[in-house]
Symmetry: C2
DNA sequence: ACCTGAACACCGTTCAAGT
DNA sequence: ACCTGAACACCGTTCAAGT
């Protein structure tokens, strides 16, 4: 009788399933993550997973919980502005570790307790900072998905399929073709053109993210100090 | 011999395929839109589509082109601020007509000519408004997906599966359970509580969208007037 | 030039059965 | 209580063939 060669399997449980799913998505991407592929990874038949998650949707919700729990808790010693800033930057670090998380967070209503906890404590930071409930409400909307550390790339390389390896010659040709049809895009693209060399510097993602975040935080502060209220809103 | 009862079919072409795909997605949602379902809609075998779009990804890109072309062109008679504002609100109207568009726009790198044209003319509005190329670059990042009219709902009902019909009694019970664990969330939820009646007013999406948009536009203007430059950026 | 039919390699999920 | 095996109703896409 041939000896069984697979490693002795630990008993499955919900947490092991979710942890494995997160790690697998980190490695192979969210599109390639299927119930069948995950089962294979765990050395188990696909249907075995259904004892621990009701279906794929619940698996994705569970994965969101795992990663949202990775975001640092609020630092109570700082003022509201620094505290919110630090926390959102922590969310951004989480997103950078799990590039698939953005599309998953965006694709669901995400009202799990972990997600609600995150929002609850974020709202608490504004209220503690002297924001009215009214203003806090609108401020949370304005912050929007940036609360999750979403960086809004103009052309989001991470959103689409993997880019083909960079062909410098082709890129230069493409940029020069663009110069005619899209002069403004080229102008703001931080592209340095000398003689016939064209070099795209690319964006400093962290700088762009903080630029937008600080613009919003400064705006929030100004409204708070001005005693802003939605009572002045135009009648619909 | 039985007469053929299907309506006499028009010849397929790329445009008819894309138009049909947009209408079908409007009707049945993006998840239910498959090559097979679309072929059925057009009274054709699935493989017939592949003569007009290379694959499903190209179909989605084509659908994006169709709806981005629906956004109003810039109005040159207004100042930059009103022009940008009006145009982004036009994009938002388009998104409301095509609820699936948000996730599709977000899921691709979207560098099609139609999309580039939209960005080109948006950038042009800022440059014409006296913004430096430097500031315009960062402003476009800060505007981010709001440029496409994306409204950032705290709990995005449209992002998830269809909500079950509202059960008032269940909702009240849920809100009261939430009051203990998530007091801050409840506090900013525009929820009026009298005696034991709990009524959630919900958000005015248009107001939230314009609040955030105007906050950003005001911030942009202030930076422009202050002669902002990224040269002062902190060293990484 | 355009459309068809059969097939391939995948999905998520059900059901009834095993231990 | 947990895992399995076979099956169902779907996918996107290929290939070779029809008209």
């Amino acid at each position: 009788m041939a000896q069984v060669l697979v490693a002795p399997r630990l008993r499955l449980n919900r947490d092991r399933v979710l942890q494995a799913a997160v790690q697998l998505a980190d490695r192979i991407g969210i599109d390639a993550l299927s119930m069948r592929r995950l089962a294979e990874e765990l050395g188990v038949v696909p249907m075995a997973l259904y004892k621990h998650v009701a279906n794929k949707d619940e698996l994705l919700d569970g994965m969101v919980d795992v990663i949202v729990a990775e975001i640092d808790p609020p630092n109570g010693d700082l003022g509201w502005k620094a505290a919110v800033r630090l926390r959102v930057l922590s969310a951004r670090q989480m997103l950078l570790r799990h590039p698939w998380a953005r599309s998953v967070l965006e694709s669901r209503t995400r009202e799990t307790p972990t997600v609600l906890d995150y929002m609850e404590s974020t709202i608490g930071m504004f209220l503690a900072g002297g924001f009215s409930a009214d203003l806090t409400h609108h401020v949370m909307h304005a912050l929007g998905s940036r609360m999750w550390g979403f960086t809004q790339e103009l052309f989001d390389a991470s959103a689409g399929p993997d880019r083909p390896p960079v062909d410098i010659a082709a890129q230069v040709a493409q940029l020069q073709a663009m110069a005619e049809r899209y002069p403004h895009i080229l102008q703001i693209s931080e592209v340095a053109t000398h003689d016939d060399s064209v070099v795209a510097r690319g964006c400093d993602d962290r700088f762009e993210f903080e630029f937008a975040l600080d613009l919003l935080l400064d705006g929030f502060e100004r409204l708070r100090d001005a005693g802003w209220s939605s009572d002045a809103r135009p009648t619909a």
